[in-house]
Amino acid sequence: MNLSLELMLQLCIIMPLLATFAIVATGRYPNLREGVTIATCLALIFLVVNLYQGLSAGESISVYWWELLPGLTISFDIEPLGMLFALVASFLWLVTTCYAIGYMRSHQEKNQTRFYACFAVAIGAVMGLAFSANLFTLFIFYEVLTLSTYPLVTHAGTEKAKKGGRVYLGILLSTSIVFFLLAIVSTWLVAGTLDFKLGGVFADDVDKVIASILLVLFIFGIGKAAIMPFHRWLPAAMVAPTPVSSLLHAVAVVKAGVFTVLKVCIFIFGLDLLAELPSTQFLLYLAGASVLLASLIAMRQDNLKARLAYSTVSQLGYITIGALLATSSGVIGSSMHIAMHAFGKITLFFCAGAILVTLHKSKISEMRGIGLQMPITMLAFFIASLSIIGVPPTGGTWSKWYLMMGTIETEQFVLMVILMLSSLLNIAYLLPIPFHAFFPNLTSFKASEELNNTTKISDKRLSGFEIKEAPLPSLIAIVVTTLGCLTLFIYPQPLFDLASAILTGRE
């Protein structure tokens, strides 16, 4: 095919939106409808990979659509950070679709057409967001993403879903309108431009107080980054079906948040200015508190999805910290963590969903011994947990490494301790789940006599169990993302190249 890169860029955004119409039109024939979705996924990956090659070859790809208001344009420009985000999101969309087909059918969910249609809109919005050339365009897609995911969060249509939806929309809309929009308008008036520019848009003699206030407004306003105290929407959104939680609340929506934070820090403020601002320190500690508190809350959750949600809040704090550290290793760590955490967390959510559809269990306390029934799923859970914790042989190692380096370089030892503590907490709240799943009698090691008895008993009991894994499409998805976690450890070079190219301009 002989498409120009500019055209491909536009197709990335338009195609998922067009697919929405096709999905609605084919709503009566589920197989055809899912066919449309998968075809769109594949085409999207093709486009994004082509764009990636174009970017690697050093071409500059930008598109101008139209001027919405005088001086404020909707335009797109690809840079490495956006490329990284788009690659992760488009690849994981395919995997999630595969997973969703298995999940939604075996769970006999209603309104599946609406589900797939909204999903496609959300991905279109993510693509637009990733490739935005200015803050204004980014804001538009940010809001589109919020609104298009609302029907997904409230998919069940129950009273609980309605309440969750209220919190979701309430927090995301109010932070973005009250703080984010205000920050954008003020930036527009102070700097005279909203275009993303390496090194920032503010003049050198900008008033530090105003810039500080703006930074706080931005960080609070980007509610999708889930910095405490604006994190409540994420646990609330867990009423959604699991594929939604996995893609949107481990990848698309939350990563859109931290992506926006990174964009603002690097391309609106610029790292030099950021390091000088007095409010940066305050926000760093806030993010640190968010990391720690969320981990502590996660420990106390018995609902698996809720625990994962709080874990996400905590991990998002890592990325925000990396951005605010304002050093190159911080930025590299953050942007790599976008990808690493995405693969790890999506696997964990996939597993949670698989347990729900096959064994109908959502509470952690009920999950003892399920490793014998769902060995593949629980093995995947184990590996993904390692990636979240950040130990070899998983991808999470690298990003946490760079984040640590960032804290040491800037001599933020308090933060360094916080990050280490949080990693320990990660171990404490994630690893027991697979351990208990595989060794249901772990606690009774104390008395060997009893052990023998219990093992015998449970062996008899367990022999009644058959291996009962998740539906095949879902299982494939789980395996693919788990392999992703491992591959990213062995072969992180392309990711690292992209991440380190963010600060140097183009590759």
Binding site: W66, V144, K162, L169, S174, I177, V178
Partner: protein, 492 residues
């Protein structure tokens, strides 16, 4: 022909109104009114084009020269308003025939259209004329027909609502008349152009102060500005649905126009904003209005009431923009007039469709409508998002300009308040959406179907306009900016 456009704009609907009596058949009269309104719309488009290319049009009525005769003066501001009024009127009329079938007895249909056209005439006249006394005449034409139209509502409360409006409206109109009388006493002229030149000479007299006070209070009564808004919710809620859609989108805009015209053009900027602390007063009242009305809207159980209170809140935004008294602020107000007309037109027409199908707009009857009337409800959702100010809708455009205007002046706290106000809009819009999409339908509404095409076409015309003008803002922003600049005497 082309030189007579300013008068044709007003005279065509005026002459057409009595002609309806001759036709006297519901469908014929409807088609005829639609034609007339469409004609008025065409004329307003032509006028706007003319004004934007070649500047202000001055038309002498009957060939009598200005200070003696009546002058019609069309500048960017009027032309913009004429476009809004006649455009909305045409779109709304499209649905009228189906809608009034269920709401108004058959023998009164002809009168309905006559009154509608008269009301249209009145509004167009107020806007087109350059003569202060003429303003009063047209104000009475539009108001009297409005009282009668509201009284046509199905329920008995309509009579009381109309009576309330009659009393308040008459007080307002009388105040305006007194104000104009006092001006005439001091200057000996009624032509606005003349007045603006002669008033500064006598600006420091008590009479001029008093006349200013009378005019402003009178206009604010018609405007339903907080705390003079008490007539509006009932009038909107009990009027026939078509009338509500038409008035909600246009009537208050005409009053805002009068406010701008009198403060900026007649009394002049320095008198209105320097001599008198209008800025602080209006800013405060506008903000209180936003919060009080939005909060009240949250607690309404009748959806028409809910959006009527929302209208009062939206007027608050216009007043805040106005009280900034900079070009940017006024641009925001003018833009919001245009944009709000589109949002409320769409929402109230959708409510008209709900009434057509269900018979009432109590919130509890909205249960399950998201599934039964998907297109109508989608229109309310998009209209609501526009009210909230979501990007890619017109609401975002006006919000952006209002924020820019406030932050430019360094009024951060007020900008924050404005944004918090729009959070209240989220709450009241979402109350409707949650009931429509999350509840099972009521037993008696189980067979309700989507609204007929005669509703869907105008509703979606306005909805698409909401999105179109939220993306392609050239027309609205250019005209609003040009109008604001000319009012401030800045050459663009």
């Amino acid at each position: 022909m082309i030189t007579h456009l300013p008068i044709l704009q007003v005279i065509i609907p005026l002459m057409a109104a009595p002609l309806c009596l001759l036709l006297n058949r519901s469908r014929l009269v409807w088609l005829f009114s639609l034609l007339v309104s469409g004609l008025a719309f065409t004329i307003s488009v032509l006028l706007l084009q003319q004004v934007m290319t070649s500047g202000v049009i001055s038309y002498e009525l009957g060939g009598w020269q200005a200070p003696w005769g009546i002058e019609y003066r069309i500048d960017q501001l009027n032309a913009f308003l004429l476009l809004i009024i006649s455009g909305i009127s045409t779109v709304v009329l499209f649905a009228a025939h189906t809608s009034i079938e269920k709401e108004i007895p058959k023998d009164k249909h002809t009168y309905f259209y006559i009154l509608y056209l008269l009301s249209l005439t009145g509004m167009l006249g107020i806007v087109a004329t350059g003569d202060a006394f003429n303003v009063f005449v047209f104000l009475e034409i539009s108001s009297l027909s409005a009282y009668a139209l509201i009284a046509m509502g199905q329920k008995r409360q309509a009579l009381w609502a109309s009576y309330q409006y009659l009393i308040m409206g008459t007080i307002g109109a009388t105040f305006i008349l007194i104000g104009i009388g006092l001006m005439y006493q001091m200057t000996g002229t009624l032509n606005m152009q003349d007045l603006s030149q002669r008033l500064p000479e006598v600006a420091q007299t008590r009479t001029v102060f008093v006349s200013f006070a009378f005019v402003i209070v009178g206009v604010c009564l018609k405007l339903a500005m907080f705390p003079l808004h008490l007539w509006l919710p009932n009038a909107y809620a009990y009027a026939p649905s078509i009338v509500t859609a038409f008035f909600a989108a246009t009537a208050t805009k005409v009053a805002v126009y009068l406010l701008i015209r009198f403060t900026f053009s007649v009394f002049g900027l320095s008198f209105s904003f320097t001599t008198i602390p209008l800025q602080t007063l209006f800013m405060a009242l506008g903000l209180i209005g936003i919060f009080v009305a939005s909060t009240t809207a949250i607690y309404q159980s009748n959806v028409k009431h809910l959006f009527a209170y929302s209208s009062i809140a939206q007027i608050g935004y216009m007043i805040v923009g106005f009280s900034v008294s900079t070009v940017a602020g006024l641009t925001a107000t003018l833009l919001h007039m245009f944009n709000h007309a589109l949002m409320k037109g769409a929402i109230f027409l959708a409510l008209a469709a709900v009434i057509y199908r269900i018979g009432n707009v109590e919130l509890k009857s909205f249960r399950g409508l998201g599934r039964q009337m998907p297109l109508t409800m989608a229109a309310i959702v998009i209209g609501g998002l526009s009210l909230i100010g979501a990007p890619l809708t017109v609401g975002f455009v006006s919000k952006w300009y209002l924020l820019t205007a406030l932050v430019e002046q360094g009024w951060w706290p007020i900008a924050v308040l404005i944004l918090l106000g729009s959070m209240l809009a989220v709450v009241y819009v979402w109350r409707v959406i949650e009931v429509a999409y999350f509840k099972e339908p009521l037993q008696q509404n189980i067979k309700v179907k989507e609204a007929p095409m005669s509703f869907l076409i105008p509703i979606w015309t306005l909805v698409i306009a909401n999105i179109y003008f939220g993306i392609d803002t050239r027309l609205s922003v250019q005209v609003a900016q040009a109008a604001a600049q000319s009012l401030f005497g800045v050459s663009p």
